[in-house]
């Protein structure tokens, strides 16, 4: 297991290094002065110029520059945002929690609704139920997320006026960020409008979370169903049935834990798609997360924000993919055996 973890860590470092190398090379191709693209300082003083030349070793050869670039970026020096002239790292840490909040709520929705529905679909002997569940998930799987987002906001926001369709909260509530998660911050704040602010934040997250949850939800349903169908035919389930155990116990205690292993694996594989979907959703619902920040950075030709955003998002995705893989292997008895066999 130790060697396996070491190998995964190695994979994480190598992938990150490749990513940084790609960013480093593309930075050289931005149609502006290299120093400006690296630091983002609009009108640097001579002192600042000398400092950044030194920091990024601009007078040295390409390899040393790359090392200096890696060192600066990994130590958190992402430069100043070209448009706001504020440190990119501050802006990034400010927008990240919003994205996490949306992703967590959407992920929870997908799992809490998807797993039971997948189990139902696999157990139901009724063809109509089976087919309708599969039809719904297939439809959900093939709907483009931008269309879904726009349709939902048109219906529930504009036509019916039930739910707000942009932002995280009505801006009149002045909520100081503590955790960065609006749903938690509203409850933690000492404002007299605490509860109504929380409800307002809750309403704001409904539509974006549903939109984002649809894709993982359908995947979870389909994978759970397939895994359950497979597992319910395993001899050990039949043995449990023969022992006269209740169906509920069999499903919850014996079948489901095993069925969830492929679900976990697929969630790891889906992470990249999920992140890009999250960006689209953020743009559609003006959700002030890392996605809409990055997209507006691209529109504003904010070179430091583009680099910082891509670096941050990609590192997070790499990290979580590997984490999920490790978890998957730690939980899954079969692959655990394989690891030992490989060693």
């Amino acid at each position: 297991m130790g060697r396996y973890l070491l190998r995964r860590l190695n994979l994480f470092l190598a992938t990150s290094l490749v990513l940084i190398a790609v960013l480093f090379i593309t930075t050289g191709y931005f149609p502006v002065d290299k120093q400006y693209a690296l630091t983002g300082i609009e009108s640097p003083t001579l002192q600042q110029q000398a400092l950044s030349r030194d920091e990024f070793k601009l007078d040295s050869n390409g390899f040393n520059q790359f090392l200096a670039y890696t060192e600066q970026r990994l130590s958190g020096n992402l430069g100043l945002s070209v448009t706001s002239q504020k440190p990119v790292i501050d802006e990034l840490t400010q927008v990240l929690p919003a994205s996490f909040e949306l992703a967590i709520v959407a992920g929870l929705l997908a799992i809490l609704l998807g797993v039971p529905l997948g189990v139902l679909a696999s157990l139901s002997k009724n063809k109509i139920t089976q087919h309708s569940i599969m039809a719904i998930t297939l439809t959900g799987y093939s709907i483009p997320v931008f269309w879904l987002g726009l349709t939902l906001s048109l219906w529930f926001g504009v036509e019916l006026g039930w739910l707000p369709i942009s932002g995280r909260i009505n801006l009149l509530y002045e909520i100081e960020p503590i955790t960065g998660f609006m749903l938690i911050d509203t409850l933690l704040s000492d404002s007299i409008y605490r509860i109504s602010a929380f409800l307002d934040a809750l309403q704001h997250i409904v539509l974006p979370a549903i939109t984002l949850a649809v894709l993982p939800f359908t995947v979870v349903v389909r994978i759970t169903r397939a895994a359950m169908l497979h597992i319910m035919n395993e001899p050990y389930i039949r043995a449990a049935e023969a022992r006269g155990l209740h169906t509920g116990t069999i499903v919850l205690r014996h079948a489901l834990p095993n069925a969830l292993i492929p679900v976990l694996k697929n969630m790891g594989l889906m992470l990249g798609t999920f992140a890009s979907y999250a960006m689209i959703v953020e743009v559609i619902f003006s959700w002030p997360g890392v996605g809409s920040w990055l997209v507006s950075g691209i529109y504003q030709r904010d070179y430091t924000v583009i680099q910082g955003g891509v670096l941050g998002v990609a590192l997070i995705i790499i990290f979580f993919s590997i984490l999920i893989e490790v978890l998957h292997n730690a939980i899954n008895p079969i692959s655990r055996k394989e690891i030992y066999a490989a060693n």
């Binding site: 945002s81 002239q85 926001g157 504009v158 009505n170 009149l172 409008y193 409800l199 030709r301």
Partner: protein
């Protein structure tokens, strides 16, 4: 199993219903006003910009000027100056300052004294005196003041006493007071500036603003919002709202939906195509105000082939401006045949010289010796008062020019980048416009068509014409209205002949708001003001 299915269905339904109940339940909300604005301000000091977005976010909310312009009576009224006298030769203006005016107290600055003459001197010397330590702090200079040549006009500003100053001018200028009343001529705190200088943080002056206006800045988050709090020491009547928030929403449809769902109370710059939607929502209404503006297509006259007047005229003949008025403005604008809008006192009706005539356009191009032409048209990415949809305008122009064999390439960037790139002056042509800052007709000429304006890059056509400058100088030197009107008509004539830019519309200024919001001051000049805005108490909202 079926039982279970039913149960789950029930739970889903219940939670959905629960959500809806929450959505409809009564809610407490702090008193305040949310304005959906169209973009990020470039700075928090209007002295350093000309963009309307920044003016909206700063001038009327954070700052005050020496004198104000009253759109109802069309006269200059007291603001920070209680009274003023000009000498008979028009060469000096003496201002008496209001006493007891306090600057904002915020978490980054606490004033120890009231407004006095030093603040006035500092605010203007920063612009006109290149030796002032703050002069160079503004990276892009002071475009409005450079375009009107303020540093050539003012010889010096004299402090008579703590509450009296005299502006000494080099030559008399009929538009001087009007220019002081614009949203650019705001008064800064010298004490704050000195503190910053001592801390070596001079750039903060334009980033963390201190003024005397009705609101003070509490927080700005780029791309998201600007949060203001009422200035409790404001010298006029306190605004009704304790909080004012600018919700930065660049997409026009998003602004409209935010207004419909109640996330905003007032929303800026709707597209003409969205106006019918407002009628479907009884709680919304449209505010209109005849605009003091002009939308135009400026040619870079420093560049081939636009330095040839025949090419410019040919392009003008090739564009069907009636079609633009129909498709882009949907009849909310009137055709522009010159720079001045009909509301201006110096306006007089002129028949359009450049009616749609592709044949003539082709002939003119042939005369100029051009048979194949490929040009860039830069179109603003955001809606402005004078042009709600520049991209669509560009597309219409593209189609029109294709008829005479000219290929158009449309270029656009995000607003702040667009402005920066424009100041590099390497574009072919640009679709932009001008919203007046005061009622003086000079405001439609000097800031855009003078040689001074060319140097400060607010002259989008890069057009410097000695004859035009002569006419404008003459018109400024006299106070005789009839004489000035004749001179401005002369300027219009020269402009139409030379056509450095093609004006096509004077737009109506539009704002949508909730019906219970009253008295948002939509002035034809400068930015929007929320100082006197009120919310009519809703008769039980739900």
């Amino acid at each position: 199993m079926k039982q279970q299915l039913k149960r789950i269905g029930l739970v889903t339904c219940l939670s959905a219903i629960n959500m809806l109940l929450v959505a409809c339940g009564p809610q407490k909300i702090p008193t305040g006003l949310v304005y959906c604005s169209e973009g990020n301000p470039e700075s928090f000091n209007p002295q350093t910009v000309t963009s309307g977005t920044t003016i909206d976010a700063t001038s009327q909310q954070l700052y005050d000027t020496l004198v104000d312009y009253d759109p109802v009576t069309s006269s200059i009224v007291p603001a920070l100056a209680t009274s003023w006298y000009s000498s008979d030769d028009g060469l000096s203006y003496r201002f008496k300052l209001r006493s007891g005016v306090q600057f904002h107290q915020t978490n980054y600055f606490t004033p120890t004294r009231h407004l006095n003459a030093d603040d006035i001197l500092f605010s203007f010397n920063r612009i006109i005196d290149s030796k002032n330590p703050y002069h160079e702090v503004a990276a892009n200079g002071y475009p409005f003041f450079q375009s009107i040549g303020l540093s050539q006009t003012i010889s010096n500003i004299e402090k008579v006493s703590d509450n009296e100053v005299i502006f000494h001018l080099r030559h008399s200028d009929a538009s001087f007071l009007s220019n002081l009343a614009t949203g650019f001529s705001i008064i800064l705190s010298k004490e704050y500036a000195d503190n910053l200088l001592a801390d070596d943080k001079a750039e903060d002056l334009d980033r963390y603003p201190i003024g005397t206006g009705p609101f003070k800045l509490t927080k700005y988050v780029k791309n998201e919002y600007i949060r203001y709090h009422r200035n409790e020491q404001f010298w006029r009547k306190l605004p009704e709202f304790e909080h004012l928030v600018f919700d930065i929403t660049p997409r026009s449809t998003a602004r409209l939906t935010k207004l419909i769902t109640g996330d905003c109370n007032v929303s800026a710059l709707p597209k003409a195509g969205e106006l019918p939607v407002i009628k479907q929502h009884p709680h919304l209404e449209l505010d209109t105000q005849l605009g003091f503006n002009v939308a135009f297509w400026a040619f870079n006259t420093q560049k081939e082939p636009f330095n040839d007047v025949r090419v410019r005229q040919a392009l003008a003949y090739a564009v069907d401006s009636q079609n633009i008025l129909r498709a882009v403005y949907q009849e909310t604008a009137i055709e522009a045949t010159g720079m001045l809008p009909p509301q201006s006192w110096a306006y007089s009706y002129n028949k359009s010289r450049y009616d749609y005539n592709p044949q003539k356009a082709k002939a003119l191009l042939k005369q100029a010796g051009i048979d194949k032409l490929n040009i860039d048209v830069w179109a603003m990415p955001v809606a402005r008062i004078y042009n709600p949809n520049a991209l669509k305008t560009a597309e219409l122009i593209q189609a029109d020019l294709a008829n005479i064999g000219v290929t158009v390439n449309i270029v656009t960037y995000d607003w702040s980048v667009f402005n920066q790139k424009l100041s590099r002056r390497d574009y072919d042509s640009v679709l932009i416009g001008w919203n007046a800052d005061n009622s003086d007709p000079d405001n439609f000429f000097s800031p855009m068509l003078s040689c001074d304006a060319q140097r400060s890059s607010s002259n989008r056509a890069q057009w410097c014409n000695a004859k035009m400058d002569g006419i404008l100088a003459k018109a400024k030197a006299t106070t005789n209205t009839a004489e000035r009107k004749a001179l401005y008509q002369q300027a219009e004539k020269l402009f139409r002949e030379q056509l450095p830019m093609l004006p096509f519309a004077h737009a109506t200024q539009l704002t949508i708001k909730q019906r219970n919001i009253k008295q948002t001051q939509l002035t034809p000049f400068g930015g929007i003001s929320f100082e006197n805005t009120m919310k009519i108490v809703p008769e039980d909202k739900h």
